[in-house]
C-alpha cells in the first residue's frame, strides 16, 4: 500500500503546484501509515532526489521523450501502470491544467473515485472523505469516496509546502509508452513573469481604471511585489487586458495569499473567483462598493492617487528592510 503522487513538470522543471501535492500526499501517507511515492514522466533536468525533503520516499521515473509533452491518454496509461505495480491505494496530483486532464482519465482506468480540487487532508477516521470547494468557492462539500483506490487532486495554493530533511530514492520504471496522438506544435509564454495560478500575490484592476493606458501603475506595483496581474471580466472583454488575466466565475479561479483589487466593484461573479484569497485589499473610490464586504483591508479613494503612493511606500519599506 502506498500513496502515489503525480509530480508534473514543464520544460524539465518541477512545478510549484507539484511541491504542494507532494507535501499533501506525504501527509496523507503519514496519516494512513503507508509510504509516499512519486511518479515523474518525461525528461527532467531538476534533481529528483531532493524532492525527498517534501516527504516523498521513492520516485518512479519514466524518462521517455514521448512523455515530454502532455497527452493525457498516454500519461494516464503510464501512471496507472505505476499505480498498479506499486499497489497504490491513494493517488494524488495537483488540480492544475495537467491534473485536470489526467485525473479524470485515471479515475476511469482504475475505477477509482475522484475528488477534484481538494482543499484539506482527507478524513480517514471513518471511510475516506475529502473537502473541496463547490459553487465556485461560495461553498464547500465533503465528498466520500467508496472505491478501493481513491484519487485526490489538490487545489493549487490550498496546501502549504513543507520542506524538511530527506532524499528520495529515484528508480526507473519501465513500461510501454504509446505514441502521443496530441502533438504540441507551439508553446507561447505569457508576458508576465509570474503565472497567475501560482502567484502568491495578485494585483488586479477593473473598469475603474478607465483604460488600458493606465495599467502602467498596476504592472509597476505587481513587479515590486513579485506579483501576477489580473483583471475583471469587462476589462478583458474590452480588450484592455489579455483574456488569460480574467478572474472570476467564468474566468480563472485563484487563491493567492494577497489579492489587491483596484477599481473593481466586487460583483458576485468576480468574487467567486477570488474569495479564497487569504487576504484581500480593496481600493475603490465608492465606499459602498460591494467588494469592501469581502475585504480584509480597504482604502476608499481614487486609485490614481492611492496606487502611486502605495508604490512609493512599498519601495520605502523594502529599502528600509
Amino acid at each position: 500500500m502506498s500513496v502515489l503522487i503525480f509530480i508534473d513538470a514543464a520544460e524539465g522543471k518541477i512545478k510549484k503546484a507539484s511541491l504542494e501535492a507532494i507535501t499533501y500526499g506525504a501527509h496523507i501517507a503519514q496519516q494512513l501509515g503507508v509510504s509516499a511515492e512519486g511518479v515523474v514522466l518525461g525528461q527532467i533536468t531538476d534533481d529528483l532526489a531532493t524532492l525527498g525533503k517534501y516527504g516523498v520516499q521513492k520516485i518512479h521515473r519514466v524518462a521517455d521523450e514521448k512523455l515530454n509533452n502532455l497527452d493525457a491518454q498516454v500519461y494516464a496509461k503510464v501512471i496507472a501502470d505505476v499505480a498498479t505495480a506499486t499497489g497504490a491505494t491513494v493517488l494524488v496530483c495537483s488540480n492544475n491544467v495537467d491534473g485536470k486532464s489526467i485525473a479524470p482519465r485515471l479515475s476511469v482506468r482504475l475505477k477509482a473515485g475522484l475528488v477534484a480540487g481538494a482543499v484539506a487532508l482527507p478524513d480517514t477516521a471513518n471511510g475516506f472523505t475529502v473537502k473541496k470547494n463547490v459553487f465556485s468557492g461560495k461553498a464547500f462539500a465533503n465528498i466520500s469516496v467508496s472505491t478501493d483506490i481513491k484519487i485526490v487532486s489538490l487545489s493549487p495554493n490550498a496546501y502549504k509546502i513543507e520542506a524538511g530533511e530527506g532524499t528520495a530514492e529515484v528508480v526507473d520504471f519501465s513500461t510501454t509508452v504509446e505514441a502521443p496522438k496530441v502533438k504540441v506544435t507551439n508553446v507561447e509564454k505569457a508576458s508576465g513573469e509570474v503565472p497567475l495560478t501560482e502567484a502568491e500575490i495578485v494585483v488586479s484592476g477593473g473598469r475603474g481604471l478607465k483604460g488600458p493606458e493606465n495599467w502602467g501603475m498596476i504592472e509597476e506595483l505587481a513587479k515590486l511585489l513579485h506579483a501576477a496581474t489580473a483583471c475583471s471580466r469587462p476589462v478583458a472583454d474590452a480588450g484592455w487586458r489579455p483574456h488569460n488575466e480574467h478572474v472570476g466565475q467564468t474566468g480563472i479561479a485563484i487563491a493567492p495569499n494577497l489579492y489587491i483589487a483596484i477599481g473593481i466593484s466586487g460583483a458576485i461573479q468576480h468574487l467567486a473567483g477570488v474569495n479564497r484569497s487569504k487576504t484581500i485589499v480593496v481600493i475603490n473610490k465608492d465606499e459602498d462598493a460591494p467588494f469592501f464586504k469581502a475585504a480584509d483591508y480597504g482604502i476608499v479613494g481614487d486609485a490614481f492617487e492611492v496606487v502611486p503612493k502605495m508604490i512609493e511606500s512599498i519601495k520605502k519599506m523594502k529599502g528600509g528592510a
Binding site: N96, A116, V187, E188, E198, M310
Partner: protein, 247 residues
Amino acid sequence: MKILVCISKTPDTTAKIAFTDNNTKFDTNGVQWIINPYDEWYALVRAIELKEADAATVIHLVNIGGADADPIIRKALALGGDEAIRVNADNHDGYFVASQIAAVAKEGNYDLIFTGKETIDYNGSSIGGMLAEMLEMPFVSLASKFELSGTTATITREIEGGAETCEVALPVVVSAAKGMAEARIPNMRGIMAARTKPLNVKEPVEAESLTTVASFGLPPAKAGVKLVDADNVDELVRLLHEEAKVI
C-alpha cells in the same frame, strides 16, 4: 460532421447558496437555472460556428438530468442545436454522468465532443476527461481556441504562464474555456424553431457512482474590513507587512 455538445444545468451566477436536509442538499428554493456558462458561451457557440462554416454539420445536445432541465435544453436548441437527448437521471457523480454521456456518444458516433471547462456548481472539471477515457479518444482540456481543417483540429489551451497549441486528429473530446467563442443570445426565429426540434428522453444505462456528497457547508464569514484613510497609505503597507504578513 457530427458534433455532440454536453449541456449541464447550473444555478444562475447570482443565486443564493444555501443548503437543506441537514446540509446534504442544495436549496433550490427561488433559484433560477441557466445553461452552465462554459457549455453555452463557448462549447455550444463554437459548435454553431462550425456548422455555419459547413452546412453538413449536425449538432446534438446531451444532458443528464430530470425534466426540470428541459427549459435550458430548449434554450440551447434555440441557440442552434439540431436535436437533443436527455438521459432521465438526477445524479451528480462525475463517473455516473460520464458513463451516461458515453453511452449516448457510442450510439451517435460523433466526430467531435465538446464539454464546458467545468460546471459552476460542482466544479468537477472532470467529465470531459472521463468521457474521453471511456470512449478511448484523445482529450484536450481548457481549450481557448479551436480550429478545424479537414479532420485535424488545431487547439490552443492556456497553461500555467502561457498558452500551448496542439494538433489532433478527430474524433476528440475537447473542454471549452473562455476565448473559444463569443456569447450569443437566441433570436426569435431560433426560439420558434426550437419548439419543434426533437428532444428525446432516454432512460439511464446501468452505471455506478464512485463518490457521494456527505455534506455541504459555507465558508466562515469575513471578520469585516479594516479601512485605512486614503491619506495614510503607509499605514496600509505597514498592516500588510506586520499584521497580515503578506508582503
